[in-house]
């Protein structure tokens, strides 16, 4: 009984810590802007959707959300296509030095992204890709590649080796074995890697800030950061935009969360 109370209290604290800022954000987004400007931290006296209206009608926010979705979806697709092939090859094909490749991938992922912003900016300029979605898609896919490959490698490695051998006996080429036999059982791993890549691409700020310059390609995090004017910070609009920006991720995670947990636990046991 005492244990249950302690456990409940502990859970409540953790939840309050994690969800508190989000609740505050939600409340702020639903207050009339004038009231927020007067006292950003007060409890709401009245509810209003004015901040949401302002975000979507006074700014090109639909376009920005569209940019973000396009970039996140394309980077996720590109990253997963490469990661799946790489993970399968490293786990199941006789690739010389496959352990070294995995170690190298891991060490590359430890480099701070800021170290590569400069070169990526120069490369994007040279290719004429500045301020395009492609300029973000390629670095995002590359930055997510190590983690996605590691997650999927764990899944492929946990599959019985005989499954791939059976596919060979039945006449599959390596690609056919991957597509027809090994891919369906690792679907949870693909879902997990997809969610993580999507979230990373959706939230990424540094590259987006450096490589985009107009609403042609600007993504949500950068746009929200630019809401602040010289004389005022429109907290209500920032809160409303942030709430909107959280929705796609909430939806994706809610739909696939059991895969996410399994994906993150892969390698620690049976997937």
């Amino acid at each position: 009984m005492k244990r249950a109370i302690l456990l409940g209290a502990g859970l409540f604290l953790v939840l309050a810590f994690c969800l508190g800022p989000y609740v505050w954000l939600l409340i702020t987004s639903l207050r009339p802007p004038a009231e927020v400007a007067a006292d950003p931290a007060a409890l709401p006296a009245a509810l209003s959707l004015e901040s949401f209206r302002a975000v979507f009608s006074e700014r090109p926010f639909f376009r920005i959300v569209g940019n973000s979705l396009l970039v996140a979806i394309l980077s996720t697709a590109l990253c997963l296509a490469a990661a799946t092939a790489a993970a399968f090859a490293l786990a199941r094909l006789p690739v010389p030095g496959n352990r070294a490749v995995l170690a190298l991938l891991l060490s590359v992922s430890m480099l701070p992204p800021v170290a590569s912003v400069g070169p990526v900016y120069l490369a994007a300029s040279a290719l004429g890709l500045r301020d395009t979605a492609a300029a973000l898609v390629m670095p995002y896919a590359a930055l997510s590649l190590p983690l996605a490959t590691w997650i999927l490698h764990g899944f492929f490695r946990d599959l019985p080796a005989d499954l791939h051998r059976a596919a060979k006996v039945d006449g599959c080429t390596p690609l056919q074995a991957l597509r027809k036999v090994l891919l369906p059982p690792v679907a949870p791993g693909i879902a997990a890697a997809a969610i993580l890549t999507f979230i990373f691409s959706w939230n990424e700020f540094l590259f987006a800030l450096s490589l985009t310059s107009t609403d042609r390609s600007r993504t949500v995090p950068v746009e929200i950061a630019l809401f602040a004017g010289v004389h005022e910070v429109p907290w209500g609009e920032i809160a409303a935009a942030s709430v909107v920006a959280t929705l796609p991720i909430l939806l994706v995670v809610a739909a696939l969360d059991r895969f996410l947990v399994r994906g993150l636990l892969a390698g620690s046991g049976k997937g």
């Binding site: 051998r165 060979k168 006996v169 006449g171 027809k180 369906p184």
Partner: protein
Amino acid sequence: MTTGIRLEGITKRFGSAVALERVDLEIEPGSFTTLVGPSGCGKSTLLNVIAGLEEPTSGRVFFDGEPAEGKGPAERDVAFVFQSYALYPHLTVYENLAFPLRMAKRPRAEIDARVRETAEKLELGPLLGRKPRALSGGQQQRVALGRAMVRRPKAFLLDEPLSNLDATLRLAMRAELKRLHREIGATFVFVTHDQTEAMSLSDSIAVMNGGRILQHGDPLGVWRDPDDVFVGRFIGSPPMNVLPARFSGREGTVAGVRPQDVRLAPPGRADGHSGTVTLVEPLGPEFHVRVDSGGEEIVAVTAAADGAPPEAGSAVTLVIAAGAIRLFDEKTGRRVV
């Protein structure tokens, strides 16, 4: 349709570890040949080499006299049954059976006909719509066999397919396998560590140890006349007694005697070795009697029909017929006489 398989000087190394060492083997068309040996003896590796799942480090594999180098399992037209069954978990029984035919791009009608024919033979008809995880171990085993049969391959390669079944089911599937082999008439190469399985199923057995084939022949011949002391101990239950030179009467040799050839007589006889019974194991139709004779443990098997054997602690004379003794070189273990 039946295929002979010949192996010439197969050596397989994994890094510095030698898995197979200059293995030669001739597998007769249509035979049921078993590779038997303890775990790690190289029998599964040899089967993989035959299948084309592993390339040998050196040596050659021939199917009907044709070299098989560089050919994958499908081109060799062999089917493989795995110990783990390796059924495709996301496909139904029907789709599992159809898979090799679909890969071979057979016409749809032919696939359907062959899947249904195979399912009927293995009594899988009612299970065709199920996924593997909804099947019992025995049913999964039959699907694995079916996936091999449906292609009508030149040869069936089976890697310990019965090891994951419980004892009762294993006996039933053993009989089933033998029946299938007779019915299909294709070449079967079977791998097991279980000498009883090897003896009961096979036309010919190849006993392996340490990456080599020590003896290849018909099961009874191998049992009766082991070429090697290891073979004598591995084939047959309980294992052959291996006794020092004073029992063989010849320096530099050891004497191999089957427990079935050791007779227990009353003490004091001059034509045998005296000893004391240390343990009696009743197995129903027979007794395994352990006797200590001058520090050597010798096992004798007596038939229950001959009455109860002497109790533990009794003095006995062990009588071994001269013709039952096989002599092996003390150092190499190879047969001398």
